[in-house]
Every structure is written in C-alpha cells, then in structure tokens.
C-alpha cells in the first residue's frame, strides 16, 4: 500500500495568507496541515508517499518535506503542473504507484481519527476503490454518495441541487491500480477538469465494488480562514499540555498549554488554555492569550488580548486591542496607535485581506 498526497491548488479562498505560501503549510496548533496527513499515513503503516505538486508553492512544500526522512517516510515528488483536475493528478501517480493499491489524501484535510480502519477494511475486501464519507448538514456543497444495501457506493454526484443522501465524499480515497484505466476514459467536466468522481462512476458502472467508510470523529477541509480556526480549535481541544518553556513569577497560566522550551510567559501576562505557543515566543506584560489560540514561532505579544485565533509566526503584536477569531499571516505587525496624530487606524493591508472594526 502506498500513499499519494495532494499538495497542489491555488489556495484562493485563503488569500492573502496564500499569496506567500501554499495552504498545505498553514499551521494548525503550530504544525503544518500537511504533516497531519503524513502522520495518518504512518499510523496506517504507509511510508512510501508520492507528493503531488501543482503550479504554485511547489518549492515551499518540497523544501519543507525534503526527502521525508525527518518525518520517517520516503517521499517521491510528482509534479502535475497545470491544475487539470483530481483525476489527472491521481493519473500522474501511475508510475509511482507501480501496480500497488494506494491511498489518496488531500493535503489540506485533517481527520480526528486515523485512517487505519479504512485501509484495513479495503485490504480485507475485494474492492476496486473506496471512499471515506461523512454525514453533513449541507451535502449540496460536496460530492454526495448513494450506497446499496451492502454499504457499497453505487453513485457519486458532484454538488447536486437535490442530494439523495447527506453522506458526502471527504478528501480520502483508496484505489486499486484499476483506477488508472478508468481515469484514461474520463472526459473533462463542465468546468473543464478531469473529475475523480467520474473515475469512480466508471469503476462502479463496470461492477466495482466501491467500498464506503464512514469516518469517526470530525473532519475538516481547511480551505477557508474560518476552517483554519475551527481545525485549530478541534486540535487544541485534544492537545497534551507540556510546559517546557519559562513562566515568570507573576504570570498567570491556566488550562492546557503547550509551551515550547524556548518560549517565555513574562510577569503580568495571562494565558488560558487550550493554547499552543511555539519556539521563541514572548508573551509579555498585559498580554492575554485566551482559549483556542496558537501563537507561531518568533512572535512577541505585549498589551494585546487575543483569543480563538491563529498567529502564523514572526509577528509583533502590541496594539492595546482585543482580537478574536483572527488569522494573522507571517510577519504581521499590530502596533499601538498611541502617540500618533491625527488619531486613527493606520493600515498596510494586502490584497484580499479582511478586517472588521
């Protein structure tokens, strides 16, 4: 069994954060999203991983993952280039897969539970493919699966107006090598892409069977800023507290806090978990870091209150304001306007930014 990890896409819904880096490297609880997928592969004993790169951000992903050895896996890069659809991306992995069964994992997805059971069920059966599914309240926004009495998939419809079920396809698939012949017969969809759902339908129409697996626990596609915040919240809910850094006398720290050994919480600061604080972070006097916040490396916070937020890193946060539900990109400066005239907020805001005053 091999793994194919998709790390392409433009990340357009995450601009301006993705103007300067791929969405798969955005940290959730101070760990890039893509590393959660690698952890899941390892947990399922899959260590040969093909990482599919697109047009944008491929150097950043490659430089982060390297040859995979630092993560205990072996990585082969597969460069798709132009985004021609998921079926094309998977088709590019044919030589890497080399006749094995394989798991496809969208690199911006996070699962609460490992994929081990899904992989085991697939290996124990005689399936040509498998899809991970989840019940959602808004199925019309996803690929919707219909199952037969045995629980096998008989139909997948992409974003139907009138969904037959509330079971939707999430970003984890299992394939036998038969999928490559199906992909060769996929025609471009109305949006001009080669859709993986069409490859599934070909496999189903030719007798399948296609296994369905309902994921346990939560699943998040981290495609939008609010998804990043929610995934951060979900991960922090299960965080293991580890106070390895310095807490000065006069600082108040309560709840589950993961404090890096090089981070400092200074006197007069308040931190209430669950919170993740990365390396070389200083939480200074009069700062409040509230629940469900992750502070990325080399960030200094003084005088600011922040809660339910993600600070990616290398930032200076010193405005005497309260920030909630915020996603702050790398090298952000939030400074005090005190001492500046005329009174007013001074902004340097990138394209596609969103501010609420």
């Amino acid at each position: 069994m091999k793994g194919v990890l998709l790390a392409g896409g433009t990340g357009s819904r995450l601009r301006p954060i993705t103007h300067t880096g791929p969405k798969q490297l955005i940290p959730i609880a101070n760990k890039p999203v893509i590393e959660y997928a690698i952890d899941d592969f390892k947990e399922a004993s899959i260590t040969e991983i093909g990482v599919i790169l697109g047009e944008q951000g491929r150097e950043a992903v490659r430089d982060h993952l390297g040859d995979g050895s630092q993560f205990g896996v072996e990585i082969t890069y597969i460069v798709q280039g132009k985004p021609l659809g998921l079926a094309h991306a998977v088709g590019c992995a044919r030589d890497f897969v080399d006749g094995d069964d394989f798991v496809v994992y969208l690199g911006d997805n996070i699962l609460n539970k490992p994929i081990t059971n899904f992989v085991r069920e697939f290996q124990e059966g005689e399936y040509v493919a498998g899809v991970a599914l989840q019940h959602v309240p808004n199925p019309e926004q996803f690929g919707v699966a219909t199952l037969d009495e045995a629980g096998n998939v008989i139909r997948i419809v992409e974003k139907p107006e009138d969904p037959e079920t509330d079971l939707v396809v999430i970003g984890i698939y299992l394939f036998s090598p038969q999928v490559f012949d199906a992909i060769e017969r996929v025609e471009p969809s109305a949006r001009g892409e080669y859709e993986i759902t069409d490859a599934f339908q070909i496999l189903i129409d030719e007798g399948g069977p296609v296994h369905s697996h309902r994921v346990e626990g939560w699943w998040k596609d981290t495609g939008k800023p609010e998804d990043i915040l929610e995934a951060n919240r979900l991960i922090l809910d299960d965080i293991r507290p580890a106070i390895d850094g310095t807490i000065e006398e006069g600082a108040e720290v309560v709840g589950k806090v993961d404090l890096h050994e090089t981070a400092t919480i200074e006197a007069g600061a308040v931190v209430r978990g669950p919170v993740s604080i990365a390396e070389e972070v200083v939480v200074g006097e009069a700062a409040y870091v509230g629940p469900y916040t992750s502070i990325g490396p080399q960030t200094t916070i003084r005088g600011t209150h922040i809660e339910n937020s993600v600070v990616i890193g290398e930032s200076t946060i010193a405005a005497r304001e309260t920030f909630v539900d915020s996603l702050l990109g790398r090298r952000t400066k939030l400074e005090s306007k005190e001492g500046y005239l005329p009174d007013g907020r001074r902004l340097v805001v990138g394209e596609n930014s969103r501010l609420r005053f």
Binding site: G50, L53, R58, E59, R62, D63, L65, G66, D67, I75, T76, Y77, I78, V79, Q80, G81, K82, L84, A87, H88, G91, C92, A93, R94, D95, F96, I183, E184, R185, V186, E187, P188, Y194
Partner: protein, 59 residues
C-alpha cells in the same frame, strides 16, 4: 485522457508531460536535484500528442 509522465533518472521525481510541454526546459523540481528536464525526454509520439492537445485547448 492519456496522461504522460516522465521520471528523473537522478532523483525519481515524476513530471507530467503537460508541464514539460508548457515549459520545454526546467530544472528538475525534485528535492536537491540539479538535473535539467526537457520536453525532448518524451518519445516523438508523446510529444506530438501533447502538442496537439495543448493546441486544441488553446483554440
């Protein structure tokens, strides 16, 4: 859809034919690899297919 790929003899990185058709020449995108990847790596039949396909999409 025929998907054409080629593999770097040095690092094993796989590159799609559509990317090579578009760029014609590129430094291997593999990790710490310095090979030059060329459209000419592909067979004449594959190159003709990719050029025909790209022309069709452009039209």
């Amino acid at each position: 859809m025929r998907i054409i790929t080629t593999t770097c003899s040095n690092c094993g990185t796989i590159v799609s034919g559509t990317l090579l058709e578009a760029e014609r020449l590129l430094k291997c995108p593999g990790y710490q690899c310095h090979e030059i990847r060329r459209f000419d790596e592909l067979s004449e039949i594959d190159r003709a297919y990719l050029i025909e396909r790209a022309t069709r999409i452009d039209d």
